[in-house]
């Protein structure tokens, strides 16, 4: 190819154009949703959402962002908060901690948000919490189910903790599966910490842990593990292997006849998103324990209302599901709304004090309330079993379950 037709003026035009468009793109930056509001003197209340819109868990991050859009719109349609509109700022944490810190800093320093909600993985939370809470002097709500032990002031957790996911679930598994547990796990902080708690509950209820084993996060061949499960006559596989490994693992267990011989799969992050990783037969009877399943909508009209509203606004692949923190995000924003109303101002300390004892009567899966002084959230928990590719609710907590944290 010859370049002689690229005369200098055209080249200069192109480079100028590239520069201008880059400046435009980085300058405007985050996705700003500006409500059309006339009578707010104090300006809008700014809500920041920092979540993984791109990268391997983009499906979860997009669901979180959608929930934030839905809740903010709902609050604005009902007249805003303290007579002021909410303005939503969404930043991408890109499943990458170093990118995330920069983008979260934008939320704090440039947009000066009054609240940051977001982060899905624990490593993401740990990377951005200091930027938000300590240096940023801003309130932080973390919406995902996680391993517990996060007791940073001004950091509120609205997803389930190990106690909430194990206390009622493991006795159910022992009754409906057996006493011999295997804990195959991905090698990172959540499985390690969750397993310590799970083991305690298993042993307290008369069960035993036959083996606990950790795998590299990208391992996709589990023949040795499957063999240990089968030859040790394990009753319950309490799995914390994550995608991409979990699909092949469950498949190999199925092929080895684990389910046919009466084995029970259990996995506490399994929601509607993860059902599609395997064919229905391969995970028949898989049990999960979460704060919400779509299957509870027939018995809980408010959950049905949220679910329908979400699906109407955001049809497509980003589901409103508990395992991707979408329900925690909804709960977090509503609890924060209640706290701001009670505090009567958006000053961080006042809102944090009110949020410390905030309650909502209705939410996904039922009511929720913060445990005073603990910055964690009581909520109802549900045990569901996969049957023919759909969840069926088999057990419900009697009331709200205590997070037992901090």
């Amino acid at each position: 190819m010859s370049n002689h037709r690229n005369n200098p003026s055209r080249r200069r035009f192109l480079s100028n154009f590239a520069f201008a468009s880059t400046a435009l793109a980085t300058g405007v930056g985050s996705w700003v949703i500006r409500p059309d509001w006339a009578n707010a003197q104090a300006g809008p209340i700014k809500v920041g959402v920092a979540t993984d819109l791109t990268g391997p868990i983009g499906y979860a991050g997009n669901a979180n962002a959608n929930v934030a859009r839905m809740v903010v719109k709902e609050i604005n349609d009902a007249g805003g908060l303290l007579g002021r509109p909410l303005e939503l700022f969404i930043e991408d944490t890109a499943s990458n901690e170093s990118v995330a810190v920069g983008n979260v800093r934008k939320l704090i320093q440039r947009d000066k948000v009054d609240l940051v909600l977001g982060g899905i993985t624990s490593s993401m939370r740990n990377a951005i919490k200091d930027v938000i809470v300590a240096r940023g002097r801003t309130l932080y709500i973390y919406p995902q189910l996680y391993e517990g032990k996060e007791c940073t002031p001004y950091l509120f957790c609205t997803g389930p903790t190990p106690a909430q996911q194990c206390d009622e679930f493991i006795p159910w598994l022992i009754k409906n599966g057996g006493k011999r547990f295997a804990l195959p796990s991905a090698n990172y902080v959540w499985p390690h910490t969750l397993n310590v708690y799970a083991r305690k509950v298993i042993e307290a209820n008369g069960g035993e842990v036959v083996f606990e084993e950790y795998y590299p996060l990208d391992q996709i061949d589990f023949s040795a593990t499957v063999n240990r499960v089968v030859s040790n006559k394990v009753d319950v596989v309490f799995n914390t292997v994550i995608p991409p490994g979990v699909g092949p693992f469950f498949k190999q267990l199925y092929e080895a006849g684990f389910l046919k011989n009466g084995g029970r799969l259990a996995c506490v992050y399994y929601d509607e998103n993860t059902l599609n990783i395997n064919q229905a037969a391969e995970i028949e009877g898989l049990a999960s324990c979460l704060d919400y399943f779509k299957a509870i909508t027939p018995e809980d009209p408010f959950s049905a209302k949220i679910q329908a509203a979400y699906e109407k606004q955001f049809p497509g692949t980003f589901l409103f599901a508990a395992g991707s923190a979408a329900t925690g995000a909804y709960r977090g924003l509503k609890l924060w709304e209640a706290a701001v109303k009670e505090a009567g101002k958006i000053d961080r300390d006042a809102v944090a004090a009110a949020l410390d004892r905030a309650k909502i009567a209705e939410g996904p899966g039922g009511p929720a309330e913060m445990v005073p002084g603990k910055r964690h959230c009581k909520m109802k928990m549900y045990t569901a079993v996969s049957k023919g590719g759909k969840y069926e609710i088999v057990a419900r907590s009697a009331g709200m379950v205590d997070p037992k944290e901090c």
């Binding site: 983009g58 499906y59 023949s223 040795a224 991409p244 498949k251 599609n276 980003f318």
Partner: protein, 285 residues
């Protein structure tokens, strides 16, 4: 005893999967002298084509049949339009093909919404002998891998076309002087390597489910396999893949998997240190 057979079968089947994935990579590396970093994404595309055909309501095997042709055709187009510009600079070729792979991977991630999707195998279930279970589809993969290996070997070693490929690699100037269109040969070889990757993707997607990083998972293993096996011959990368795949599947049986994962690479590095030319050092087939 039963246990031993099951273990051997599982190790063999994973070894076969790695061989299948590495085959196309090895052919491109050995016959053309460039490392194709987009090879993993050709595997992904093969898987994706299978998924698309399946979700259109057509039988899965039809998708598996179509995958090598679709991916091979795409490989041909990419070679003609982009990859051929890199032959003079192998390092740039790595970066260029990596960029291609990145583009393909992120497009597929967008298309499948970043989710993990299951694709059923055309032959499900397992073959039971006594108390032992052998997954039928893994048996099929072992068989097809053997057939593809034999087929590829015959193509390269016994046909006139194979001779031209080898001639173009050994001495491009002389090959051109003898009336061989090396540029056409390179295009065809790249397309063939891509088609093999497409086939591999189609066959393994029922085992591992479809996700955007499917190919990336095998890329590192594939390159280590090519290094261990030795570049320049057909047999080298295949032997390397066999060794790496077998080790990767076998070590977790005898030690904690986290250590096994690292040990495979440590062993590979030590091996390359003492035998830099790889397992098979001869050029040719």
């Amino acid at each position: 005893m039963d246990n031993l057979f099951v273990a051997l079968f599982e190790i063999l089947s994973f070894g076969a999967i790695v061989v299948l994935v590495v085959l196309g990579l090895g052919i491109i590396a050995s016959m053309m002298g460039i490392f194709n970093f987009a090879q993993g994404e050709f595997v992904l595309l093969g898987a994706y084509v299978t998924y698309v055909v399946h979700s259109a309501g057509l039988p899965v095997w039809l998708g598996m049949l179509a995958a090598p042709f679709v991916v091979g055709a795409l490989g041909f187009v990419l070679e003609r339009s982009i990859v051929r510009r890199f032959y003079a600079a192998p390092i740039v070729a790595m970066l260029g093909t990596y960029a291609l792979g990145l583009i393909i991977r992120e497009i597929v991630r967008g298309l499948i919404g970043g989710l993990y999707l299951s694709v059923p195998e055309p032959l499900g279930g397992s073959v039971n002998i006594g108390t032992m279970h052998f997954a039928t589809w893994r048996l099929v993969i072992v068989l097809i891998t053997a057939l593809v290996m034999i087929g590829s070997y015959l193509l390269l070693a016994r046909t006139a076309f194979g001779l031209r490929i080898r001639a173009s690699l050994e001495n491009p100037a002389l090959a051109r002087a003898s009336g061989i269109s090396t540029s056409a040969i390179y295009g065809a070889t790249f397309a063939f390597g891509a088609a093999l990757a497409g086939l591999a993707g189609a066959l393994i997607v029922p085992v591992f489910s479809l996700f955007a990083d499917l190919g990336l998972r095998f890329l590192i293993q594939g390159f280590v396999a090519v290094m261990v096996g030795g570049i320049g011959s057909f047999a080298g990368p295949v032997a390397g893949a066999g060794v790496i795949g077998t080790l990767a599947a076998a070590l977790p049986w005898v030690m904690p998997p986290v250590i096994a994962d690292v040990l495979v690479f440590v062993l590979a590095i030590i091996f390359i240190k003492f035998r830099p030319q790889g397992l098979v050092s001869a050029r040719g087939v």
